[in-house]
Amino acid sequence: SAVISQKPSRDICQRGTSLTIQCQVDSQVTMMFWYRQQPGQSLTLIATANQGSEATYESGFVIDKFPISRPNLTFSTLTVSNMSPEDSSIYLCSGIAGVVETQYFGPGTRLLVL
């Protein structure tokens, strides 16, 4: 199994600023993902974090707004840049590990932009 932690757990930010969310896994994962989730709704995939190379972004998400790093198999960061109130959401880190490719999730980062 894999345990995923995220920092910070929540934050309140001013519009125009940037926030970097850290994701740490206690074991190696083959793939890592970043999701966004509005309260009571499903998950929206932002991007796949690729080790040592640029992330693969989903339609509607761009690197300038959501730069992602993944320097190794257990760590990734997501930056929400030039924030606006529309970026208020929960951001979830996720990783796939093991022979049976189980997907694990972090506890999420609750972001409020004023």
């Binding site: 009571g40 189980t102 506890p107």
Partner: protein, 115 residues
Amino acid sequence: AQTVTQSQPEMSVQEAETVTLSCTYDTSESDYYLFWYKQPPSRQMILVIRQEAYKQQNATENRFSVNFQKAAKSFSLKISDSQLGDAAMYFCAYRRGPGGFKTIFGAGTRLFVKA
């Protein structure tokens, strides 16, 4: 494109009773995984049960079991002897595999458990 549909936005069950959550999916792939995830109000998403498409036998995990109908592309979750701790948002999910493809989630079903 693959899709996952959960047609029940909310469900309610009496404690100790049984409830079934519905899920249908669409895919042209023959090799894939299906999942049910639980997300309690604390927000940590956890895996409840998984089913490999090539397995005919329905997966079971304690009080949780699935009814996997491959031809009908249906994957329902049955929760027996419901407990207050089962109250959560439940997401049905699909992933093509193996090979590390991205997971597609349904819209979710919020389950309420009445004492």
